[in-house]
């Protein structure tokens, strides 16, 4: 089994944004992996590893699209336990979602992967399109916003619990497939691979890399591909017209009585 996991580097969402020249100023940004991608790698590793043993049930490959020199987030996933990496050397600012999806699909095919695990969205622009597009391009089944995953090794299929508006939908998807993950996938008992005891409780959240993992990460193979190697033409059909900070909030109004508040809510704001 081969599991492909995507990692995107984004400016730290906990830092405040800076604006310059009609756009965002990233010059002093701290770059971090998209949190949902961290959930994705955690999911992949829980599927691949047998707790208490050394056996691996799957090879975990991390895919990053971006300049070759900016691979720190990919290295971080290798340090967490992924087996090898692939970098598609391209300027992510010049790629739209459609192209990114094509690149991922091409790598998936080239590797003959069985499963793509991706974050449900990236926290910087919150597009939330890539996994679905990749599934479409590959013409394989998909389960998005996964909160639980169970792997039926014999049947080569996954049972995925998805949190939807009116409850939990349980889906069974045969492999190969695409799964996008949500926050709850990293709860202690969300992932079961059929070999680790089903009662095992993982540490909540994406794992910390071990120091050994960090020093070993450098020695893991990372292949660098160009989009042309994958037969994908780079380009974008998206254009950023401008980025500006939202207008500052106007001062509120002070009301003296509940009646006055009610009056304003019904007549002025018309919200009740």
């Amino acid at each position: 089994m081969k599991i492909l996991v995507c990692v995107k580097r984004i400016p730290d969402p906990d830092e405040s944004l800076k604006f310059a020249g009609g756009g965002l100023d990233y010059s002093a940004s701290k770059w971090v992996p998209n949190a949902f991608d961290e959930y994705a790698i955690e999911t992949a590793l829980r599927l691949a590893e047998v707790v208490g043993g050394t056996q691996r049930l799957a090879e975990v490959i991390v895919l990053g699209i971006g300049p070759e020199s900016q691979r720190q987030q990919l290295t971080q996933f290798l340090a967490m336990g992924a087996d090898r990496g692939i970098i598609v050397d391209a300027d992510p600012d010049k790629l739209d979602t459609a192209t990114v999806s094509k690149l991922i699909a091409a790598v998936f095919k080239k590797e003959a992967a069985d499963l793509l695990i991706a974050g449900k969205l990236s926290q910087d622009n919150e597009g939330g399109q890539v996994p679905q597009r990749v599934a479409g391009l590959l013409d394989v089944p998909q389960a998005s916003f996964a909160a639980t995953v169970e792997w039926d090794q014999a049947a080569k299929a996954l049972t995925v619990g998805r949190e939807v508006d009116d409850g939990v939908e349980v889906k069974r998807v045969p492999l190969p497939a695409v799964v996008s993950v949500d926050l709850r996938i990293v709860l202690p008992k969300s992932v079961k691979n059929g070999s680790t005891p089903a009662t095992h409780a993982y540490q909540e959240g994406p794992r910390l890399a071990s120091l050994k993992g960090i020093t070993m990460a450098k020695r893991k193979p990372v292949a660098v591909l160009k989009p042309s190697d994958l037969g994908v033409a780079v380009g974008t059909n998206e254009q950023v017209v401008g980025v500006a900070a939202p207008p500052a909030r106007k001062a509120g109004q002070k009301v003296k009585t509940v009646e006055e508040l009610f009056e304003k809510l019904t007549k002025e704001a018309k919200v009740i």
Binding site: A79, L208, A209, L211, K212, T215, K218
Partner: protein, 602 residues
């Protein structure tokens, strides 16, 4: 940033390690670290920061509140969450980052270990003491433990399966280690002794984090002489073990009581009885009477470790204070003092708050720079094959260690107190994190040799080695660093600091003169002020060096706040802090002996 969340100055750590010291390049020249590079170091720091924030910071305040508990039967329970955190650090190899990887450590440079310690101690100092003492004890055992089992034992300790302690202090023997009275009587078994006596204040004397604990105990053999020269060092396990490390019977080293104390409540401080209800077997390390010598082998690193604790607490305190000052709204801007309806502002707008923050920032950043420079010297000293080079580097470590220990721990306390002041009343309240830092960091100026003892070590021993050779060599290097700074355009500050260096040298000469005139007491009154002055001068030189690097980087990276901050640090240090060093220089040479008047303090 929220008021109560712990944070680390990762950017400044990067600045010091990679821009200023080029640690990655210096370390790459050391064969053992040749495969490591900046990327590995950055990844290590990034993950260490997460560990500090996510695993250790959350157990800090609850551990302070709950403290350790004792069952009266010799068993200590650490606060809730400590065991889980120990497992996380153990599994990830974070307990002994710079121990050899063949022995369960992570094989990183000491410089990176120190960087990690800043974050991890800053997040929970009490917890990290268990790790620090375990690793320190393991190093002694690796060097001098019983042949055949020393590596097995060290591995168990580096991996956190077993813990370790250092047992020097007794009720009658604190600063004066030579007054140790614990007895060690040989048995028929070669190398095995029976120990009797009582050690006090033993950190980690018992805990529930590890399967076994290996105590390193100083004791006196039957016909040994008085003082430190008659002390021997013994390895005393909590449980006996065989050559494979399988645990056997309970040994007779047992905790009788734990202390209630001011801070570090999560770290057990134990009275350890030796040979009370059970015979207490100890294995001699090295030779008889070699005890203090073996302890000294790890003394410098242990003292640097305490200096790092002091700095870690300063850095944490400053980060909290800066965050709080941005959020707390109180008072109007002084510029709008006359306006009735001027808006209230965050306290960071008030000049006096900015002055406090500036003081904290300068100290925290300059100490970081000083400690990491020292850590690199330690790495190079370990690595070098050239005896002359090793001698030179060791001399530098010997000279500066007491200064770093005393300066970083005293300033750690001052910065923590300053952070409380920034918080105002909220700083004094347990709900906010800074009062704990004050209580926790205070111990750093006391243990591992009080700062008074450090100062005596500096003035009474280190300055005198080779007729002042270590000092003179340091001074020549300082002067050439300052000359380089002057050449690069920082002539004004370099000159001011150069004067302080001159005054420091004159003060050292003055103390040497008092010594020659047999006015030892008059000289020793000035030991602590001299150490402080030396520390301030060291920090000043770091400031000038950082400003220099920052000016160079601004040409390519532009006016990043961090880089501008380095220029301001230098200006502030020279204007507001360096004069303290000058004043100390004057008072050191004042020949004042008033405190020695025997009619006082009666």
């Amino acid at each position: 940033m929220s008021t109560t969340s712990f944070s680390v100055d990762l950017r400044d750590l990067h600045f010091v390690l990679f821009d200023q010291l080029a640690a990655h390049e210096q370390l790459a020249a050391i064969p053992r670290f040749a495969e490591l590079d900046r990327e590995v170091y950055e990844a290590t720091l990034a993950e260490g920061e997460r560990l500090a924030r996510e695993v250790l910071a959350p157990i800090n305040a609850p551990g302070d509140l709950a403290g350790c508990s004792f069952d009266g039967q010799g068993n200590v329970t650490t606060p809730k969450g400590y065991r889980e955190a120990w497992e996380v650090l153990r599994e990830g190899g974070w307990l002994a980052p710079s121990a050899p990887s063949e022995l369960g450590g992570s094989g990183l440079p000491f410089t990176i270990h120190v960087s990690l310690s800043e974050m991890l101690c800053g997040a929970c100092m009490a917890f990290m003491m268990y790790a620090g003492l375990t690793v320190g004890a393991a190093r002694v055992i690796l060097g001098h433990g019983p042949e055949g089992t020393r590596e097995m034992i060290a591995r168990k300790m580096f991996t956190g399966e077993w813990g370790g302690t250092m047992c020097l202090t007794e009720a009658g023997a604190g600063s004066s280690v030579g007054d140790n009275r614990c007895r060690a009587t040989p048995t028929d078994e070669p190398g095995v002794y029976l120990l009797e006596g009582e050690k006090i204040f033993i950190s980690g004397g018992d805990q529930d984090l590890t399967d076994n604990i290996v105590h390193l105990v100083l004791a006196r053999t039957p016909n040994a002489g008085k003082g430190t020269k008659g002390l021997s060092l013994f390895m005393v396990p909590k449980y006996e073990f065989d050559a494979g490390g399988a645990l056997g019977a309970r040994n007779g080293a047992k905790v009788l009581r734990i202390e209630e104390k001011m801070g570090i409540h999560g770290s057990s401080t134990c009275v350890l009885g030796l040979g009370g209800d059970l015979p207490c077997r100890g294995v001699l390390l090295g030779q008889e009477n070699q005890g203090i010598e073996l302890m000294f082998l790890m003394m410098n690193e242990a003292r640097i470790g305490v200096a790092v604790q002091g700095h870690a607490m300063a850095a944490a305190a400053y980060n909290y204070a800066r965050g709080y000052a941005q959020e707390r709204i109180q008072g109007q801007s002084i510029r709008e003092a006359r306006s009735q309806d001027a808006p209230s502002v965050a306290i960071v707008q008030h000049p006096d708050v900015r002055r406090m923050l500036m003081t904290q920032k300068v100290y925290a950043e300059a100490m970081r720079s000083l400690l990491l420079r020292m850590a690199l010297v330690v790495d190079r000293e370990h690595a070098t094959e050239d005896p002359a080079e090793r001698e030179r580097l060791r001399g530098r470590i010997d000279l500066l260690t007491p200064i770093l220990k005393a300066t970083c721990t005293d300033l750690g306390f001052e910065v923590a107190v300053g952070a409380v002041q920034v918080y105002g009343g909220y700083g004094y309240i347990g709900e906010y994190p800074v009062e704990q830092l004050v209580r926790d960091v205070k111990i750093c100026s006391i243990y591992e040799g009080t700062n008074g003892i450090q100062a005596m070590d500096l003035v009474g021993r280190k300055l005198r080695i080779g007729g002042g050779a270590l000092f003179i060599e340091w001074m020549q290097e300082a002067q050439s660093r300052l000359a380089a700074a002057a050449e690069a355009g920082l002539g004004g500050p370099a000159e001011a600091i150069g004067k302080a260096v001159q005054l420091l040298a004159a003060s050292a000469m003055h103390l040497a003169g008092l010594g020659k005139a047999r006015k030892v007491e008059a000289a020793m009154i000035q030991a602590v002020p001299f150490t402080r002055m030396f520390g301030l001068v060291l920090l000043a030189i770091e400031c000038v060096e950082q400003a220099l690097v920052a000016a160079r980087l601004r040409q390519t990276r532009g006016d990043e706040p961090l880089l501008i901050g380095k220029q301001r640090n230098l200006e502030f240090f020279v204007a507001a802090i360096l004069p303290q060093a000058i004043a100390l220089g004057k008072s050191i040479q004042s020949n004042d002996e008033s405190a020695l008047d025997p009619s006082l303090f009666v």
